[in-house]
């Protein structure tokens, strides 16, 4: 296992009953990169993420995060690793009975009960600021926020513990194109400012072109290709060809080329 791999997945198998999701899947995520994970519906992108963060017990395989084996780890041992990552779930998964500021404070209170209330509030305030939310959003409840703001609030909570590793599950799904582009920029900026490694599941081709350093393609129960997007374009797997060279793929590529020219 290479020393600079933050996540290393080897020979992962997952199945639900007769249905095989993953078979001998290998994947490495390098320090400081944004790795985009793509694949058709039902190829197990979310299951892969849930396996890595320990919400899903794989049938077989090894998973190392920060060099520590995650499979078969006791709950209290896993906690030490868990505080080093943040997760943004697809719908935000904010606690609906708490305000945004309280949501951000939940992990802090859990791990650092000694922190003073003032400090917790200050931390929540600047995390909310970092996530691009206006300060008045802090004391709103999740049901009072728009979809885009809920994602940002979820991101603020994911960033609460100053993680080194960030998991994002379809962060731009359901956002308008402007909101999605802003969220991409936010992800990129945060990655650079905070030195994050990002594991990003997405369907958004623009996101792939705009911010991902490498892209992993899931198909046939495994990662069939991984690398910078230019390399993937050169492969001749039919699904990859269709994905990147379909009308949407071409449009995203043209848009990206234009931005680069400017």
């Amino acid at each position: 296992m290479a020393g600079d791999d933050i996540i290393s997945v080897q020979g992962l198998c997952n199945s639900f009953g007769d249905q095989i999701i993953h078979k001998d899947l290998d994947l490495d995520v390098r320090q400081g990169e944004i790795l985009g994970v793509v694949g058709g519906s039902g190829t197990g992108k979310s299951v892969l993420m849930r396996s890595i963060i320990g919400l899903q017990e794989p049938t077989a395989g090894d998973i190392h995060v920060f060099g520590e084996a995650m499979i078969g780890k006791e709950e209290d041992e896993a906690t030490d690793v868990r505080r080093r990552w943040g997760v943004l779930f697809q719908g935000g998964a904010l606690f609906s009975t708490l305000t945004v500021a309280e949501n951000v404070q939940v992990p802090l209170r859990e791990f650092y009960p000694d922190f003073s209330t003032d400090l917790l509030e200050e931390i929540a305030r600047y995390k909310i600021h970092l996530s691009g939310l206006p300060p008045e959003a802090a004391h709103k409840y999740p049901s009072e926020l728009s979809g885009g703001m809920r994602k940002r609030a979820g991101l603020a909570r994911a960033l609460a513990m100053d993680p080194e590793l960030l998991f994002l599950d379809e962060p731009t799904a359901g956002l308008d194109p402007i909101g999605a582009a802003n969220f991409d920029n936010l992800t990129r900026n945060l990655k650079e400012t905070l030195g994050l490694t990002v594991f990003l599941i997405t369907h958004d081709l623009d996101t792939l072109y705009a911010i991902c350093d490498r892209v992993a393609v899931l198909a046939d129960h495994k990662v069939i290709a991984i690398g910078p997007i230019e390399d993937l374009l050169a492969t001749d797997h039919p699904w990859i060809k269709e994905y990147f060279s379909g009308p949407r793929g071409r449009a995203a590529r043209r848009g990206h080329a234009k931005r680069v020219d400017k």
Binding site: R83, S96, T97, T99, A101, L108, Y112, D114, F115, S116, L119, E121, E122, I123, A124, R125, Y126, K127, I128, H129, L130, P135, E136, A138, H139, Y141, P142, S143, L159, M161, D162, T193, L194, G195
Partner: protein, 370 residues
């Protein structure tokens, strides 16, 4: 190994102090730095970050806050530190993010005021809701093809059939308690035989129906509120409306009908079980054989007692179902609301049932059914 964060204070030659930070200025290692920085009283001119090995946003925030409060200058910050301090520096300090707290008295008066307003608006909404249900029922009578038989039968099962076990057991035990307590008290007058009057009249007229209503409110009224409340949160009710399905027709009417029909049946069943319990106790304790018990029961219990129960039961059923569905429809926003409204549904249903029961008791006595 990482060193936890620390700082020392030194005097500068030209007056003022310098804070020299060292170690790992990160969330896990800052320890009591926050309170120590708060406790600083001397004026700080400079903050030296030269010996800081690692910094994260929490550390950056503490440095930034200290620098801003004292007007100190940050020196020797390496690239990471400068970048993070820059990132956290744009926060608006002035606005508090804590919700505004009112004084205790204002809070108390405010609660009372809100309570009154909520009580009246709830009453108004409930009347509106009853109107909707009546309208939906009228439409269904005119267009019987739209009536959801399937749903009604399913709720027969949920409200009635599946409640048989618990209601039967409860009523049986209540019958035993009534007979036992009655026997003990009446024995003092040598009037044990009147225990049969007590069991027969009390169960058919009052307790059989009342206890059934309470059990149905707890089992089914709460379930109605929780089901409909969850459907509201997941926007299923909105989806129904857009498809053209009227929620009152599809969700409320079948439940109300199921409860109205099931309540009298459950009431008869509960009364019979209580009689069996009471009869059994009379047989064991008072040595009244079952045959005598039944003959005596038929002599002392007028048919009107049975009818009183049968008139009350459907009314109670309607109230329980309507309260459950109404509270379910009131759910808005988050999952906590589902719990609150479910509780409200049960409390409201039981309260209304008991109020109406008192009204019925007086009413039937007045018309001479006593």
């Amino acid at each position: 190994m990482v060193h936890s964060a620390d700082f020392i204070q030194e005097s500068l030659p030209d007056g003022g102090n310098i804070l020299r930070f060292s170690g790992n200025l990160a969330i896990a290692t800052i320890g009591d730095l926050d309170s120590r920085l708060h406790a600083l009283s001397d004026s700080v001119m400079q903050i030296d970050l030269g010996d800081v090995t690692h910094i994260d946003t929490v550390g950056a925030w503490l440095i930034y806050r200290t620098a801003k409060q004292s007007g100190a200058q940050i020196v020797n910050a390496h690239m990471d530190a400068a970048r993070l301090i820059e990132a956290v520096s744009g926060v608006d300090q002035t606005e508090s993010i804590a919700p505004v707290r009112r004084s205790t008295l204002a809070h108390f008066l405010g609660e009372i005021g809100e309570g009154v307003v909520v009580a009246f608006t709830t009453l108004l909404h409930f009347l509106g809701f009853v109107g909707q249900v009546v309208k939906a029922s009228a439409i269904l009578i005119l267009h019987p093809g739209r009536f959801r038989w399937h749903s009604v039968v399913q709720h027969f099962d949920m409200v009635g059939v599946r409640a048989l076990g618990i209601i039967g057991l409860m009523s049986f035990l209540i019958g035993i308690v009534i007979a036992q307590q009655g026997a003990v008290q009446l024995r003092q007058f040598g009037a044990e035989v009147f225990t049969i009057n007590l069991v027969g009249r009390l169960t058919f007229r009052e307790l059989g129906i009342l206890m059934t209503a309470i059990m149905v409110a707890g089992r089914s009224g709460s379930a109605f509120a929780a089901q409909i409340g969850t459907m509201k949160i997941t926007e299923e009710i909105d989806a129904m409306r857009t498809i053209g399905v009227v929620p009152a027709e599809a969700l409320v009417v079948p439940r109300v009908i199921a409860a109205v029909i099931m309540m009298p049946l459950l009431g008869i069943y509960a009364s019979l079980m209580a009689i069996i319990g009471g009869g059994l106790l009379c047989w064991i304790i008072l040595e009244i054989p079952p045959a005598t018990f039944v003959i005596r029961l038929r002599e002392v219990t007028p048919m009107t007692d049975f009818w009183i129960g049968m008139i009350k039961a459907p009314v109670f059923g309607a109230i329980i179902a309507m309260a459950g569905c109404f509270q379910g429809m009131q759910v808005e926003g988050n999952s906590e609301q589902v719990g609150l409204k479910t509780t409200a549904a049960v409390v409201q249903a039981i309260f209304l049932v008991i109020v109406l029961d008192a009204f019925f008791a007086v009413f039937f006595s007045e018309i001479g059914w006593d």
